[in-house]
Amino acid sequence: MKRVYEKGVSLIESLVCLVIIGIGFIGVNQMMSYATTSIDRSVDANKINFLSETAIEDIMGDTNNASNYNFTQQCTKNYNSSGSLSEKAKTKWAKHFMQENQLKINNQFKKLPCDQLDTKEATITSGSDGTSVKFKFKSNKGKKEKFIGVVVK
């Protein structure tokens, strides 16, 4: 009588198979976490748009003194709230860029994460063709830059 050998899958083979499936699974996970962080980033970009629009709106309300609105901020604010409208406006921006005076969570101010390289800058240029404002907003440790430019006068 002929002997029949029935061959199945060995333990090593099944383990190798499991490792390959595991690698595939890690890939899918990476993709999902990338997708969620990019949604988060787009929310942040939207926020930056709003903050710079708000700042430019203040300059539009005081076009005669537009040159006083040159502004640079890293994470801390270094403006005092007394004095002219432009100084008050810049103090206001500095606070809002860091979300100060809005929400307190468990008695702590909710603050935007900020790196020293995340600068916010307003540059005013006046020429024969009018006065324009350029707002530069850096985020993600200075890696991402966002510009908004408006002719105010």
Binding site: S14, F25, M32, D40, F50, T54, N101, L103, I105
Partner: protein, 242 residues
């Protein structure tokens, strides 16, 4: 005789352990990604609701006080107003008036409303010809003013605060229709809206204190929802020309 060979007990146990570990890993990562996805999507929803309503509000604020040069129909004594702590909510009520033709003007209000469970939501109400013969918009029938209800612009709004500043950047108080003088002093308006997440996203409750440009200790909530404040400042270009 044919010899049939199956798995040994050891092999089966090893296979079961490996299977169990992989199922645990898959289910853990599913739960983790599902919750982070839910969190991000809720944050995106909050951001969308906050930003789009701020855009609508800023459009109305830019129109505030717009007076058509041929408008002669009735008195022109109201264009912007703020009422504190409207209707038992901690939020403000913002009212804006402007011309939509040489004959007509329109009144737009933003305020918080409470639902049956005490949660607040932000609404926008539009009234045509507000002084002579007020007619609300957004009704089942406009001519008979049947079942009029303002439009909800943010489902889960915790707080809505309005501040006015004069041309020197100082806060203005008592800006209402009883004082045309105070109304004409308004130079910029600041709006703060605190939006709550649609779902409970936190494991443990945390305390939120809504400052929103005001002083501390006024308004707190302690629960498992996330909250974020959205802010805009608008230059009232039509009011300053009045």
């Amino acid at each position: 005789m044919k010899k049939l060979k199956g798995f040994s007990l050891i092999e089966t146990l090893v296979a079961m352990v490996i299977g169990a570990i992989s199922i645990a890993a898959i289910s853990y990562s599913y739960i983790y990604f599902n919750s982070s996805y839910q969190k991000i999507m809720d944050k995106a929803k909050m951001s969308k609701a906050g930003r789009s309503s701020l855009q609508t509000i800023s459009k109305d604020l830019r129109n505030a006080g717009y007076k058509n040069m041929n408008y002669t129909r009735s008195t022109w004594d109201r264009w912007i107003e703020k009422i504190d702590a409207h209707n038992g909510t901690k939020g403000d009520k913002l009212r804006i008036w402007y011309n939509i033709s040489t004959q007509d003007r329109i009144e737009i209000s933003y305020y918080l409303e409470k639902n049956t469970s005490g949660e607040t939501y932000l609404v926008r109400e539009v009234i045509e010809n507000p002084v002579v013969s007020p007619m609300k918009r957004n009704c089942e029938r406009f001519d008979t003013q049947k079942n009029c209800a303002p439009i909800t612009i943010i489902e889960n709004a915790t707080d809505f605060q309005v501040f006015f500043n004069d041309k020197d950047g100082n806060r203005l108080n008592n800006v209402n229709i009883s004082s045309t003088e105070n109304q004409s002093k308004v130079h910029t308006a600041e709006i703060y809206i605190t939006v709550r997440s649609p779902n409970e996203l936190l494991k443990n409750p945390i305390t939120f204190e809504m400052l929103n440009g005001g002083t501390a200790g006024q308004f707190t909530k302690s629960d498992r929802y996330l909250r974020e404040t959205f802010y805009i400042s608008v230059y009232l270009r039509n009011v300053v020309k009045l």
